[in-house]
Symmetry: C2
Subunit: 469 residues, 2 copies
């Protein structure tokens, strides 16, 4: 798998470097994205790509992206000698034939761009996101796709994923419906920032009751101008899932294994971003992933016994309420933190309690009042793994008596998406509670399998290569 390639280039003036550095670069024929070998005054030799200057930091310091993916800063005064080895951007710009072809007999996959690292270019210079979601650009980034699917693409949003809201979930769900109804692709790939991908993928799982094919969220933890980028592997994996999967669920297809061969398809309702930077950041919690894809052999293997199959119908209910909050309990949390939501007219509250589903005794009265006032209050656990069980301790029993709905082994983020969706569907509080207790998209299980928790000593038995990162 070759690393994803960079498109575009950046002028020296916009590079963010100081006048002195720009002058030095001009003198030595160095451009932004030039591949260079630097010999420093202390004898150290560095090879890498000259990056645009990030918005923060010393403008006199040249930023070099080394082949291992790390950035180093080098003050130009330390550089004794420089050789320009090539132009990184030019590699792609010169590549012929990067236009969309219609392959014979291949399944059709529709790409929806929403923003995020996977669709961002030179963002670290201007702060702006440049989407590249034309089919041509996707093919030119990842030529392997020409053998897998016929791709169409469009940009729905161009936002960082932390700016996604329940209103965006609604628009996305509506658009998914429209695409399946009008284009009838084998599946849809949603390019999405990884930060809140699991919230959006869970939301879509509830909104899309019946679909002809899967909706596959994918993204990148490392932007596609980095040699260690996961963008290409993830897009190929996501396309394979969209094209081949027997299921028609909302899933997250992201990097799984150190050798860049495996992409995992996690159920949106079971997935969580568990690492801020690693490429294998997404885990399924309280469940195995739904499927794994080998991006080299292009084989897809379903790992779970039950799933929603592809349907002839398209049934999507896109409304979400924005009057739901996710509130994590912490020691000493006072009652007014919860009262706030009642005062502001919230209709749903997802508590992230401790252990089996607890908050401090002082809050029980506040919760009772919120429930009495018609707020749907559900309980999840901040442990993330395991399930709430509110019958074991007095606190839990009293919270149940106060009307709290236990969320079983559902993730807090999933419970938030689910309650936002339910309260977009009904005004009836009792109906909302009834719906919340239903297992709508495999977001809970009666019994959590043993294999779904790494355990306190996972590191004792883990066999892995140090190449992963």
């Amino acid at each position: 798998m070759p690393p994803a390639r960079l498109t575009g280039s950046v002028g020296l003036e916009a590079s963010g470097y100081s006048d002195e550095v720009v002058k030095w670069m001009r003198e030595h024929g160095v451009r932004v994205f030039s591949r260079v070998r630097l010999r420093l005054s202390d004898g150290v030799e560095l090879r890498g790509i000259v990056m645009p200057r990030p918005r923060v930091g010393d403008r006199e310091v040249l930023v070099l992206k080394l082949d291992n993916g790390y950035n180093v800063g080098v003050h130009v005064s330390r550089v004794a000698d420089v050789d320009v080895l090539g132009e990184y951007a030019a590699t792609l710009e010169g590549k012929p034939g990067a236009t969309a072809k219609v392959g014979e007999g291949l399944p059709r996959v529709h790409f929806l761009g929403t923003g995020g690292t996977i669709a961002s270019r030179v963002d670290y210079v201007t702060g702006a996101v440049y989407p590249y979601f034309s089919a041509e650009e996707i093919y030119s980034m990842i030529p392997e796709l020409e053998e897998i699917a016929v791709i169409s693409a469009e940009t729905l949003f161009s936002i960082f994923s932390e700016d996604m809201t329940p209103s965006h979930w609604s628009q996305l769900a509506q658009h998914v419906k429209k695409v399946f109804e009008t284009e009838a692709p084998a599946g849809i790939v949603v390019a999405h920032g990884t930060d809140t991908m699991h919230y959006s993928a869970a939301a879509l799982a509830f909104a899309a009751r019946k679909l002809p094919g899967p909706v596959v969220f994918t993204g990148a933890q490392r932007s596609s101008d980095r040699p260690s980028s996961d963008a290409a592997v993830n897009v190929i994996g996501a396309t394979l899932v969209a094209a081949q999967a027997p299921f028609a669920e909302s899933v997250i297809a992201m990097h799984g294994s150190p050798d860049d061969r495996v992409v995992l398809a996690h159920r949106g309702v079971r997935a969580r971003k568990m690492h801020s930077s690693r490429r294998d950041a997404f885990m399924s919690i309280n469940s195995l992933p739904l499927a794994r894809v080998d991006v080299v052999s292009r084989e897809l293997k379903v790992l779970l016994g039950e799933y929603k199959p592809r349907s002839d119908e398209v049934e999507v209910h896109p409304r979400f309420s924005d009057k739901v909050a996710l509130v994590k309990f912490y020691p000493g949390m006072p009652g007014d933190v919860l009262e706030f939501y009642g005062e502001r007219g919230y209709r749903g509250l997802v508590l992230e309690g401790t252990g089996l589903g607890h908050v401090r005794s002082e809050l029980i009265e506040v919760v009772r009042k919120l429930v009495k006032d018609g707020v749907v209050v559900v309980m999840t656990t901040q442990c993330l793994w395991g399930r709430v069980n509110m019958n074991v301790y007095r606190t839990g029993v009293e919270l149940l008596e106060a009307g709290v709905v236990p969320a079983e082994d559902m993730l807090p983020e999933t419970a938030f998406a689910k309650l936002s969706w339910i309260l977009g569907q009904t005004e009836d509080v009792e109906e909302a509670k009834r719906l919340f207790r239903e297992n709508l998209a495999y977001e809970t299980s009666k019994r959590t399998e043993y294999i779904t928790y790494p355990g306190a000593m996972w590191w004792e038995h883990a066999i892995r290569t140090p190449a992963q990162g």
Copy 2:
């Protein structure tokens, strides 16, 4: 390792069962905690201990705790035949010699009871917690301790851990100081509910700057009347750490391995309860555990290269501010959720952002205003693993410019305890920010080791026995 034993018994009248069940029990000579063999009308045979009736559920249904630790409910009308095999409670009540002995040449370990499952008895009947923290009771529960340490014990609190507050952390820190100064034990074991144990252990790590020995938090995920209880293993492990460890840090000693041999000592500042019910619920995040103890061979192995050694001095700064909040960001979170804390006079805010440390753009102005008004705002990641890096994306850069302090690879819960402690030490906002950036108790690391994240496919390589749970 024999299971921890139950003390005490419960009268039939207080058992919570219906009159009909109580009558049936009388007729068959069955008592609460009797060990029985039931033959059901469908031929099934069950062996277990008759439990008091939980406060919720059908009062006609006899609850039997099977030898595997699971509870089953059996309607008495289904019971064809019953044999009473013994009286579980009577086993211990009749045991002689369960009094505190002073072993020759053994290190002294002081136990502080604060409440929680490890110290709870028959709680499921009345909702009340009965502490058993006399040395006599600890020895009678776990006779092996007589060979490990000379134990003294006292009860500091009797509360569920979800009711712990920063004010309790202060009292605990003061008491730890007093015990080391007056009793000079080799170490202190704090029996604590597991729900918020990691918050308290982190808090103590900041409050206790220099100690002559470790403070070892321990607890139980399964109460000690359950055959699968982890109480005995954990207490033995914690006592070994308190008696033997070369370090004088605040750690959590909890069950590590399926074979009941290993107890891990996690740094309080690095530990998190990651499963709601499993015995190996505690993990170190972004770090290996500080040590492991084999409770059979009684050997302790330090796993990390750096630690605070035992000191001749006792330096404890026990004050914590209760004007700090932990706030988890979620998609669409409106600004007034954060403004609330400014209006209520909060001095510190720990944000649990997404990914590398983000919240939605709309909140940046609100954060800027909070910082301007003197609130210390710090950023952690809800991914839990990995570190925040606010130089990569525009949102992060703008949050830094607004004055947010990045918490590196610190857990949100630890950042909450740390900021609560710092704002208990100083009124000076700049001094508080400076202190927050210091690595005070190994709560951050410059570079996170590869081995500290299980990875998306941990289950591929995990080798474990199905006996764990």
